[in-house]
């Protein structure tokens, strides 16, 4: 019997995401297999339950009104310094890092100007290689931007001496290249202290700052 092969497909089957040929195979199996049929039945019941119980409440009218009012202003108010922005500029790929990667934009005008300053906040090194790639793409797209990378907590790992990415390449090379293009790298001193690392453990390209959080304020 094909349970081992079919069972993982049941979710996609329920969601209508399987190609036609596979759908046929799944349905053929379901005709013969009570256990898988029961699984599908449970998934359907769960869906119905969710849709009944978690029905979206409408956005409060006041919120809608605030949004419309905000649009009226000729120049959108500049975000306060602490606001964190995700820049959706063309050329930036894979903002999958969003959970770990925050852009803070400190421009004082409402539009993206070449002199814009971007702060990349890195709190986890899991995606450090991808961060650096994204940053490179960003610079390629808009060479005149000023970028500061602030690393804290686990995000400092890629800025430590000897750090390598998972292809074995030293991070120092990419960091050096970006430094040449004017990117500022800053490592949170609080994190170093907390992790009992000496200042010498950090790549020379990166500057130490007392607190990574204050940097993005």
């Amino acid at each position: 019997m094909n349970c081992a092969r079919i069972a993982p497909l049941l979710d996609a089957h329920l969601d209508g995401e399987l190609p036609a040929a596979t759908v046929q195979q799944v349905e053929e199996h379901l005709r013969a297999c009570a256990r898988c049929r029961a699984s599908v039945q449970r998934l359907r019941a769960l869906r119905q339950l969710l849709q009944e119980a978690a029905r979206d409440t409408a956005a409060p009218p006041a919120l809608r009104q605030r949004l419309l009012t905000a649009l009226e202003s000729p120049v959108p108010a500049p975000p306060p310094a602490r606001r964190l922005w995700l820049a959706a500029a063309p050329g930036l790929a894979a903002l999958a890092l969003a959970s770990y990667l925050l852009f803070a934009r400190t421009a004082s005008t409402g539009t993206t100007t070449p002199a814009d300053r971007f702060v990349y906040h890195v709190a986890s090194s899991a995606h450090a290689a991808a961060v650096l790639r994204t940053l490179k793409n960003h610079l390629d797209a808009t060479p005149s931007i000023r970028v500061v990378v602030v690393a804290h907590n686990d995000g400092i790992d890629f800025l430590l001496r000897g750090a390598r990415d998972d292809t074995g390449a030293p991070f120092a090379l990419a960091v050096h290249e970006l430094r040449q293009r004017g990117v500022d790298f800053r490592v949170c001193g609080n994190t170093l202290t907390r992790r009992r690392l000496p200042a010498e453990a950090v790549l020379p390209e990166a500057a130490l700052v007392p607190s990574g959080i204050a940097e993005i304020s």
Binding site: A38, A45, A54, A58, A59, L67, A98, S99, G110
Partner: protein, 183 residues
């Protein structure tokens, strides 16, 4: 202004969906309002980069990102360093959730669950599971759209969704078991 008209046609109709997603991700109405406001402002500013006529996935991606930023900021403010409320291992086995679930208690849990229990169970899931379920079951997004919104490959969407559903069933069964034990 053409932009304003476009905004109202392509984005404003999805305000409720945006608010719903934000509420489930942030689990706090006030934060959700902040996130939605921030998201719509960004959407307005970057409206030029929206291609085509379907504003919903594009908008939800902005909302989703604004929510995670807010979550992160709130955690930093509270002095915590963990980035998510529970570890979710996308590649390996599920962490903290039974892989093999006995069938009968599950079926019973689903059959007898009341709405409050379901909402509580959903709230208790890790953020990336909650997000997968909300986008799929409540917002009707396709796998491809969910992948675009959450910024992960379709394979990851599929495995998260599948695990999320199992985790939800498990949560429901646990709650039912705990309730029964209390009586």
């Amino acid at each position: 202004m053409a932009d304003r008209a476009r905004f109202e046609r392509l984005l404003l109709p999805h305000l409720d969906a945006a608010y719903g997603l934000a509420r489930w991700l942030l689990r706090d109405d006030a934060l959700a309002e902040d996130a939605v406001q921030e998201a719509f402002l960004r959407a307005w500013r970057f409206l030029g980069s929206l291609r085509g006529e379907d504003g919903k996935p594009w908008l939800l991606k902005i909302v989703r990102n604004a929510c995670f930023e807010l979550m992160h900021r709130e955690r930093l403010a509270a002095g915590r360093t963990d980035l998510d409320d529970a570890r979710v291992d996308d590649d390996g086995a599920q962490v903290g959730t039974a892989l093999v679930l006995p069938l009968d208690p599950l079926a019973a849990a689903i059959e007898h669950a009341d709405h409050a229990a379901v909402r509580g169970a959903l709230r208790a899931l890790p953020a990336v599971y909650r997000e997968a379920l909300v986008l799929r079951e409540l917002q009707g997004c396709s796998y491809k759209q969910i992948a675009a919104i959450t910024g992960v490959p379709i394979g990851t969407v599929m495995s998260r969704l599948s695990r999320a559903r199992r985790a939800l069933q498990w949560q429901l069964a646990e709650r039912m078991r705990a309730d029964a034990a209390r009586r």
